[in-house]
């Protein structure tokens, strides 16, 4: 438990919730990352601009943080093949399931959506089982 960081986690979480609040009250859109990004792959008329602006902020914020407050720790230990397979599954699955950790896990649960509650339980379970297999069963 030496890495337990509940305060910074809650502060960061509140910011993520605030982002959802801003985009819903301001634009009437759900701040779900897979939906915002995936919608750019075949954008409808007038739909690209706000998506690009959101993603620019999402990508820019860590850069500002790195310049002003220090670079965040981003430790990636997976091999390239694992990253490639994981990326394909995350991209495909989040689009097929209409959402990811943000759209279902935060915005959907906040809306008390039954679909999002089911999806969040399922992707949490699948992720925990995958970690159990790769870390504890497969010689990791």
């Amino acid at each position: 438990m030496e890495n337990f960081t509940p305060l910074s986690a809650a502060l960061g979480g509140a910011l993520i919730g605030l982002s959802v609040l801003i985009l819903w009250l301001g634009n009437g859109r759900i701040a779900g990352i897979s939906g915002v990004a995936g919608g750019l792959l075949r954008p409808q008329a007038g739909e690209a601009g706000w998506r690009v602006a959101f993603l620019a902020g999402l990508i820019g914020a860590p850069l500002f943080h790195a310049l002003l407050l220090g670079a965040p720790e981003i430790s990636i230990r997976s091999t390239y093949p694992t990253l490639a397979v994981a990326g394909l599954l995350v991209g495909f699955g989040s689009r097929l399931g209409s959402g990811c950790t943000s759209g279902h896990g935060v915005a959907g649960i906040a809306r008390l959506s039954r679909r999002s509650i089911v999806a969040t339980i399922l992707f949490m379970l699948a992720a925990a089982v995958t970690v159990f297999i790769t870390r504890h069963l497969a010689g990791g």
Binding site: F4, G13, V20, G28, F54, I59, G60, L96, V106, A107
Partner: protein, 142 residues
């Protein structure tokens, strides 16, 4: 213009939240998912804090006919738990557990974390494009 600025602000706050909470760090995420190992429950506090703040936004919006900078609220309309939702969530969760990256952190990290983050992001976008390409051949959403 207001719509673009709202989106930019929302994206900035989201990205800052990912950094502050350490969601942007795959090792932190994997430690949260590793309930049978040296479990780090920190990231439960991310959802625990994010959900009530987001819920406040949805509650405030119920008093309004339209958002501040757009013509209408445009949220999800589907209600049924169908095969797409179940299969998609299971596939997404498996990928999340393999590398510790979900879409937000993958985008937030890719300029700061070198080639491995780029490999994940490229594959993720390819997976999204693959879905867009085969969407119409899959069973329809209910």
């Amino acid at each position: 213009m207001g719509r673009i600025l709202v989106s930019l602000a929302s994206g900035l706050v989201f990205g800052l939240g990912l950094v502050v909470s350490q969601m942007v760090n795959p090792q932190k995420v994997l430690a949260f998912l590793d309930v049978a190992g040296n479990w780090d429950p920190s990231l439960a506090f991310v959802m625990g804090a994010a959900i009530p703040v987001a819920a406040l936004g949805f509650a405030l919006a119920r008093r309004r006919q339209a958002p501040l900078c757009a013509e209408a609220f445009s949220g999800p309309v589907r209600k049924a738990v169908d095969g797409r939702l179940v299969a998609g969530a299971l596939i997404f969760g498996t990928g999340w557990g393999l590398a510790g990256f979900c879409p937000g952190p993958a985008l937030a990290a890719f300029l700061l974390a070198g080639t491995p983050a780029l490999v994940f992001l490229a594959a993720m976008l390819a997976g999204m494009a693959a879905f867009t390409a085969i969407d119409r051949y899959l069973p329809p959403a209910r």
